[in-house]
Amino acid sequence: MSGASRSGDLGVPYFSAAAGARPGILGWLGSTNHKRIGVMYSFAIGFFFAAAVALGVLMRVALMTPGQKFISAQTYNAFFTVHGIIMIFLVVIPAIPTIFGNFAMPMLIGANDMAFPRLNLFSFYVFLAGAALAFIAIFSNGGAPDTGWTFYVPFSLKTSVNVPMATFAVFVLGMSSILTGINIVTTVHQLRAPGMTFFKMPLSVWGLYSTAWVQILATPIVGITMILVLLERLFGIGIFDPTKGGDPLLYQHLFWIYSHPAVYIMILPAMGIISDLFPVFSRKNIFGYKMIAFSSLAIASVGSLVWGHHMYVSGQSDTADVIFSLLTFLVAVPSAIKVVNWIATMYKGSIRIEPPFLFALSFVFLFTVGGLTGLFLGALSADVQLHDTYFVVGHFHYIIFGGTGFGILAALHYWFPKMTGRMYRRNPAVVGWLIAFVGFNLFYSTILILGWMGMPRRYSDYLPRFASLQLFASVGSYIMVAGLAVIFLNLWRGWRRGDKAPDNPWGGATLEWSLPSPAPYENWEAAPLVTKGPYDFSGSGAGATKDEAGEARE
């Protein structure tokens, strides 16, 4: 991959067979091109997402009526565990850093690739290896894990199912996540185009950068914790085993030292992307650029100190409870700063409602609901009542699905023209969004109410008094999944048969829109000189309007 032979690839779409060292599928599987790796990740993660959604739907079918008609309690345990493991470790944690961090970020900062292209491809295969281990764990040696995605000891030490391989899979996936994080931090420090100062970076890059630090600093802790569970199962070293003097509570501490920051790995990059979308669709500079950038760092750092709020009822000391509760309320502040700034960006803007912006707007609404219900759980007294109920399930689905999930969909609809060179149809996208949004709220607001009434999570059956609301929640979930189906079928159709996309369909001012659609194999012959901010819509350049860009291509 020497520099000289590459110049012929300028202008050739990144997915063109003519680009790269080898044609065909080998040219993809062996490619270190950041756009190809990002797209490969998107297909792998899309597949895992579909599998985990299917498990979720099966659970809602089983819960539609009281009694265990379709699946046994053990099968139900396996379903929610595998649903959680896939969604957390194979979908939501990796999705934005690997898909959009790879595909879009180098273009956003005016670079030609990531800092370590080969390491990037390697991390993709480590990711696939981890996924393969997780799937083998489901079907071998005792069967699918039934511990929940948290692998709490001592149950995970005693259950007969294949916990050792599942924990090893999590360790391997963590390694992949660390490598991605190292790549993103190094890329941001080393490969920004001339003139691209830190405060001229798009806020999506700030989001990815903050996330990458959390990936680097938090993931090793869960790595060693998973290895210890594995060693405990294989050799009985006793470190977490209460029968040998070990302390199960220490497991919870080590687990959440990673797994709470992991929530910020999930949400921070989505917040960054949303911060990019609001100015573009309001035709206005972002309100409070520096506040949003610094609040990302604040969330990344304070968010690393709140893990104990998962353990209020575990028997940890009251002092710890009070400190963790205080820090939990503190971390809500930078999140609220972002929300207020997004709304303020729209004020007196020239708002253009397009599918990516609909997803971005619903992100703000759903994330706010998730954030406010989080305050209920962060309060010590309320948590005693709400701990381990559907209220927690509703809360984190509002954050993770309503926030990160809708953020991913926003990003997908935003960069789709750059990824495929084609446009999806606008109306089906809007209809799909509306169905998914309505179904989502019918479903998860009911889940919140059920939790408030005392419905515990992870139960395969329930009391008759919950029956009508459980039925309602199931119907809501079917509507939501129908909306997702419309969204993805429309994207699929757009990818295969959509109209040709203009270079800059949304009138974005960030650098990737100055490149042709689909993105070329090589981004720039010479690094671009950056003179204006990412949300400066005055003048031409990347900020050209849709019509101008369309005419320019004729």
Partner: protein, 203 residues
């Protein structure tokens, strides 16, 4: 293509940043174990004291000396390489690998003695000594075991770099691979510098 630049200063800086970030993850990986050690040492201080008397300070001191000498050897190898003396760099690197092997051999003898005495997880002798000593040896085998895995990985990387040196892939103009591998080796050394007093000396 800037992502593929070979040799230049930018590339070396990039490699160095990546390596230091990776080393911080390694420090945190062991950090989790040190945290567990601290909690259990505080909770079971008397049994930890008794258990630590079972370890051989002579072997521990010997291994500390071996590992520090190996760190010196790899540092000298880096210096030789930077100054263009490839043969010297190879010699010191081979010495590093040999010292790593010595470390592992001593470690194997130590572990063997513990197994003979029934001081391993699951053994009747150890179980009869109560939870504190069980946890001490659980931590001992886990932490020195994970450290030994790192020694093996480091030696393998050095072996690969020796092969690269023979083929001209690592030389005075491109020392970054050896420098980074050396940094990794120093980290492995530093981890041992903490393990040695915690298990052998504090009683």
């Amino acid at each position: 293509m800037s992502g593929e630049e070979k040799g230049g200063r930018v590339d070396a800086d990039r490699g160095r940043i990546g390596m230091w970030l990776f080393l911080s993850t390694e420090a945190l990986l062991f950090g989790g174990l040190f945290l567990l050690y601290a909690v259990y040492r505080w909770r079971y201080s008397a049994p930890f004291h008794e258990a630590s008397l079972e370890l051989s300070r002579a072997f521990g001191t010997l291994n500390t000396a071996i590992l520090i000498t190996s760190s010196l050897a790899v540092a000298l190898s880096v210096r030789e390489l930077r100054e263009g003396r490839l043969a010297g760099a190879k010699r010191f690197l081979a010495a590093t690998i040999a010292l790593g092997a010595c470390f592992l051999a001593v470690k194997a003898i130590e572990w063997g003695v513990k197994f003979e005495h029934g001081l391993y997880p699951g053994a009747k002798v150890l179980s009869s000594r109560g939870p504190g000593q069980t946890l001490y040896f659980g931590l001992y085998f886990t932490m020195t075991g994970l450290h030994a895995v790192h020694v093996i990985v480091g030696m393998s990387v050095f072996g690969w770099i020796l092969a690269l040196m023979a083929r001209g892939g690592v030389d005075a103009d491109r020392p970054i691979k050896l420098e980074n591998a050396g940094l990794f080796w120093h980290l492995v050394d530093i981890v041992w510098i903490f393990l040695f007093p915690l298990f052998y000396l504090i009683t």
